[in-house]
Amino acid sequence: MTIESEAIQQHSDANGNLLLDVRDLKTYYPILGGVLRRRVGWVKAVDGVSFSIKSGETLGMVGESGCGKSTIGRTVVRLVDATGGKVMFEGRDILSLRGQELKRMRRNMQIIFQDPYASLNPRMPVGDIIGEGLMVHGMKSRKEREERVQYYLEVVGLRKEYVRRYPHEFSGGQRQRIGIARALALRPKLVVCDEPVSALDVSIQSQVLNLLSDLQKEFGLTYLFIAHDLSVVEYISDRVVVMYLGKVAEVADSERLYANPKHPYTQALLSAIPIPDPTVKKQRIVLHGDVPSPINPPSGCRFRTRCWLAQSICAEQEPQLRQVESGHWAACHFA
């Protein structure tokens, strides 16, 4: 176990019971090459990430494309296989679960996807989409299932008469509600929200965000909320993890993170958001260059190639995630 995970765990233990505890998680994708499709390298999408979520909490996770945030979400709900590390759900390592055990565990963790079009099977009526989970987990009576589906349709703000309709009849916002109902129907404890509002229009976004926070109260849900939009994450999250190139850059309570970001990457990210308020004049930090490839990340600190503070130490030593203030961790030599 690394120092960082220990620190985070201690912090979390002191503040309530942990629902999810991720330790030193690594998820690599093989790169296949040549005629024989042999592995010629790894994409290190997630490379040693630790964090934990308390019961009832919303943990936000932000970062740009390629930072590994979606892979983390998918690894946690076991859609992608981890390469190393541990994912403890209520104290139990779920990465080793197989077969029936895994299937039972899936009831506890559900996921809401980004794309409201791709995530609903176009050839299935809404009732089957939402009710299928109930069926595979043992609710065999069709009538009982339909009643339950109708209940959840109403919970997410749709009419119960919609059970027999097909996804193409719904708007993007409505489809996202169907996706939420599907996740909710199994009464999970943890819901991974993978960019749930990024594909929606502004006015629909706020409807779905409100719904998500209502549901959290109503059903006592715990969220891992993944997004690239910092304002959305700040709005919904209690704590926020900032990711960069497969590593955690900074973790803090969301107020603290936004008021006083410690990691230069977080600072740049925050300053890059365009704010629709002409009276606010702010100093923008424009980062140079692109995010490096996760196949061959920079030595030492991964952010150093774009960082204006970078010194020689940043190339030599990888900064550990350390507590810079109480409840505020950053992985930077100068934080």
Binding site: R106, N121, R123, E132, V136, G157, R159, L211, L215
Partner: protein
């Protein structure tokens, strides 16, 4: 449906919004969103029909095919004779077509009515074509689905097997197997065609599965705990149904031609079963005598059926093309 005042306070108030219970806010949203859904969009079936109707050639194909299907069903009841019952008929050898039901299309060298060949052959052709295509498609779906869904070494193994079947010289092999098994019976032909002809369907289905398995709705089903076989056949297959239908249709045409070909080479169906291919085979030595009708009527029927099915297949392909966007 909803109280407009409630909506107003909830929508754009300057003061701290009052917390709304989920059920309330849901009800509020529901009413408003209903305006959107009040209009039922065209169903998949309607869209299909609109697109298909535009394809005039396919419509003609469908009509011709329907005609032959009716023929195949009622053929045995309206046929002027049966093969067994007719035997050698010395009165009517090589008669040209004339105005009587029995001799409408003339007779062959044994005095059999060509109309009988046409009517009874329609059933044989369609039966062999449809059943063979059915068997081949079924095997193709199974192999393609397993291959495409699981990928990796499963895929590698099955695709090599598929390649072998794809590169086998189809007709010579069919002739060989048919000769070995003794041929004769339509069901033997169906079995041979089905077990040798699935490879192209398998490839097609596999390519669809490779893309569809990456779709998020598949991930969603896995996250819920749905089993592999259910995902393969309940989730993915309905989305790959359009290419299945099209390739099935075209396979029917292919197998009808194949059946006629092996009958013509006299290694397929044998009398007393009747087929267009048998009629054509019989005609080949006699054409020189000028009795064109023997080959003409069964030949035209074969041509019409195969063309009709191909036209229909084209129309289906256009109408079912899932990638062609609708107005939504």
């Amino acid at each position: 449906m909803q109280d407009p005042e409630l909506m107003e306070t909830a929508v754009l108030s300057d003061q701290e919004p009052t917390p709304i219970a989920p059920s309330d806010s849901s009800r509020m949203l529901m009413g408003a969103e209903d305006d959107q859904l009040g209009i039922r969009q065209l169903s998949q079936m309607q869209l299909f029909w609109i697109r298909f109707r535009r394809h005039k050639v396919a419509l003609v194909g469908a009509v011709i095919l329907a005609f032959f299907v009716v023929l195949a069903i009622i053929g045995p009841y309206i046929s002027p004779e049966t093969y067994e019952g007719s035997g050698w008929n010395p009165v009517a050898l090589n008669w040209a077509p004339q105005w009587s039901w029995h001799y409408l299309m003339g007779t062959d060298a044994n005095g059999h009515s060509i109309l009988m060949y046409v009517l009874l052959g329609a059933r044989t052709s369609l039966e062999v074509g449809v059943l063979s295509a059915f068997v081949a498609t079924l095997i193709g779906i199974l192999v393609g689905a397993v291959s495409g869904y699981f990928g990796g070494w499963v895929d590698a193994v099955w695709m090599r097997i598929t390649d072998v079947f794809l590169t086998l010289p189809f007709l010579p092999l069919v002739i060989l197997v048919s000769a070995y098994l003794g041929g004769g019976n339509a069901y033997i032909i169906v079995a041979i065609f089905g077990f040798l002809g699935w490879s192209s369907v398998a490839r097609l289905i596999r390519s669809y599965y490779l893309t569809l398995r990456e779709q998020e709705f598949v991930d969603a089903a896995r996250a819920v705990g749905v089993s592999h076989s259910r995902i393969m056949f309940r989730h993915i297959l309905p989305n790959a149904l359009s290419p299945v239908i099209v390739s099935f249709t075209l396979a029917v045409a292919g197998f009808i031609v194949g059946e006629a070909a092996i009958d013509f080479l006299t290694v397929g169906i044998r009398p007393p079963s009747v087929s267009w291919g048998i009629a054509l085979a019989g005609a080949q030595n006699n054409l020189i005598l000028g009795n064109w009708w023997w080959a003409f009527f069964p030949g035209v029927c074969l041509l019409l059926v195969v063309l009709a099915i191909n036209f229909l297949g084209d129309g289906l392909r256009d109408a079912l093309d899932v990638r062609a966007k609708t107005s939504e």
